[in-house]
Symmetry: C2
Subunit: 400 residues, 2 copies
């Protein structure tokens, strides 16, 4: 199988180890390194309570080149007070000291339980092991992807390649996240690498634009975590002519980043806690794009819709109920709803439709719910997933 | 047992029958009658899509005295187009014709599945039966309460009495609702009666104020239905000195209405689909009362908090996460959280607390989560309930 991971692009090595933070003994610390130094871009949670890891990471990206990014899972190091900030700083210092670089050239991210002190000695040991196991292989990238997982059932990876002249450019990486996922920033941790030679400004723009249309459009339970972090590191090792303007070559790159993010978004929706399928809510005819997005998210977040999708139940009344109560402008007499292309409600009136067929559509791995509010020209969309008993099982006892 | 129902107040008769709209054969049509005519007040859904029953009911309350209110369950008669409006009008006409009153003197409400045509002939038959079974007994009131249920497991009733001079005044009634419950108007149907002699203006004020602090403060799944209706009918049969000003006697009445509504609200929370317990989220230190309410609701609506409550898990990090991501102003360094009086997070720092004790608190029938945002003097609260596997079971297959 092709290398789909953070080591797919030239100029990166990676590893994933078990530091002992996860009591299960599973991999829980991932390291990705760019020995020649990488330009870095990041997008972070807008939650008002953030992990010290996020504060540190934001600051280090501002400063300049980075050589390594370390991610620990099993503990979010959030709401941990001054000790938490100390631990975040220690993570950078230990990694930098061992690699002979500056602490400010290191990025960090943490994910897992909120409010428990990070077992920093275990993390330190994990960093030492991770450095010793760095490799540029696909297997090493796979271990990185596995090490950043929390309640995820499967590692999520995606990769795209394109050419600039004769040079192949690669964008690849991984994302984790299975709950506490809601726009904006529908992920907890996403780490992407590329060998594109591109300016830092355009690198950031490509990442922001890609996430706006992908990870920010997925909702699992409507909330954004305190630790959400998406990183994109560029080694420049592809050897392409450097790109610093928004021309054809930038667009190729932006498209690749977007496709990788979309791919990861769908994988995350399907692997959401307890989820068995995903659905896309497309809203048009809204008074504004913002209201279209608001309505799409209201439907995708509504537990009764999520349960109906789980049951393969064409209960479109719940969709209409969510749209009507979410505060957006609409014309009841023009309101129209389709499920998988089948019109179930047209201009405010129910239609006769083939329930069995629509039930089959809903039962597929993914389907589309389309809503026309009849109130304007605003359009937007949102991805959601079904709500199952397993979501409750996973989350009623996660802590203990 | 005391009569707690819509027949507790003098001047009312009631009944509940099985019309056949519910295929299970359970009671599904309730009728309450005030032979001498009642003043009526109503509070309705703010969903932009409403049942024709709501439109008709609103209009008839505006007009003047009402003599009867009929509620059918099993079918919401919503999103049913012109046929739905025709059916709503027919319900009024049939009842009025049989009772020798005007259609405009009848109130109606419907609750159940959205988007299916009302089986109007069954409803007509039910209305005839219900008229023939009218009684002023507690048992008849109980049957009314049972007849308006949908997925409710238990009928909910409450009653309060107080004195004006030597006259005993009674306020009693019932509410149904187990899902699709979110502020504002945390119910689908609530029918209250009183024998208070009071002006129509104050009757409406007492109902609105009571609901603002009770049914509007409960969230089960964050959405308001298309059919939410709360009615308060006043027969004036208590014989008290008529009240038309906001003095002592009005305050006694308003308090009784509020207590009945609060009682019903808690019963609804505990009977919410799949719920095993309820919790109250109290927010203070907000920049405004509106932001306090927004934060309280964000916590009460958050599936991860609801799952943690279900599991008796003191996972306060999820509470902090919800507060941080809901958009309200807060001071992270002042943020404080208590569960059942135990401080689990103080001034942005985790505390050492007795996990076993807090787990026991959460495991009780109800507990309080208190949050201080440290950003101002705004206060508000919200009631929520836990999220269980049964919620999913009930709602994945409700339709089919």
């Amino acid at each position: 199988m092709a290398n789909m991971s953070v080591t797919a692009a030239k100029g990166f090595t990676a590893s994933g180890v078990a530091s002992g933070v996860k009591r299960s003994g599973k991999l829980d610390l991932g390291l990705v390194v760019c020995p020649e130094g990488a330009k870095a871009a990041g997008v972070f949670t807008t939650n008002k309570i953030v992990s010290p890891a996020v504060e540190v990471c934001r600051e280090h990206i501002r400063r300049g080149k980075v050589y390594a990014a370390v991610v620990n899972s099993g503990n979010a190091n959030c709401c941990t007070g001054q000790a938490g900030m100390d631990d975040a700083v220690t993570m950078c210092q230990v990694l930098a000291g061992e690699m002979g670089i500056q602490p400010g050239q290191v990025l960090i991210a943490s994910t897992g339980i909120i409010g428990e002190k990070l077992p920093i000695n275990k993390v330190k040991g994990g960093i030492f092991s991770a450095i010793s196991e760095l490799k540029d292989s696909g297997a090493a990238g796979d271990r990185f992807a596995e090490a950043i997982m929390t309640t995820d059932m499967r590692a999520k990876q995606a990769m795209r390649q394109f050419k600039i002249g004769s040079k192949v450019v690669t964008v690849g990486g991984t994302a984790k996240g299975a709950g506490m996922i809601g726009p904006n920033m529908a992920t907890t941790i996403c780490v992407l690498t590329t060998d594109m030679d591109i300016s830092k400004g355009l690198l950031g723009k490509a990442l922001r634009d890609a996430i706006g249309g992908s990870l920010n459009k997925l909702t699992v339970d409507g909330h954004q975590s305190t630790n959400d972090t998406a990183l994109l590191l560029a080694s420049g090792a592809a050897g392409n002519k450097p790109v610093s303007k928004q021309g054809t070559n930038y667009r190729k790159f932006a498209k690749a980043v977007r496709e990788v993010c979309e791919d990861l978004t769908k994988q995350m929706g399907l692997d959401a806690e307890g989820a068995t399928r995903i659905f896309k809510v497309e809203v048009k005819g809204a008074a504004s794009q913002a209201e279209a997005g608001q309505a799409a998210r209201a439907v995708a977040d509504y537990d009764l819709v999520k349960c109906a999708v789980h049951g393969g139940d064409p209960n479109w009344g719940r969709i209409i109920c969510a749209v009507g109560s979410c505060g957006v402008r609409l014309k009841p007499e023009k309101l129209t709803c389709r499920i998988g292309g089948v019109t179930v409600f047209r201009n405010g009136q129910p239609t006769r439709f083939d329930r069995k067929k629509v039930s089959e559509i809903i039962g597929q791995q993914e389907h589309v719910i389309s809503i026309d509010l009849g109130a304007g020209r605003g359009e937007d969309f949102c991805w959601g997933c079904d709500l199952s008993k397993d979501y409750v099982t996973i989350n009623a006892d996660y802590h203990t």
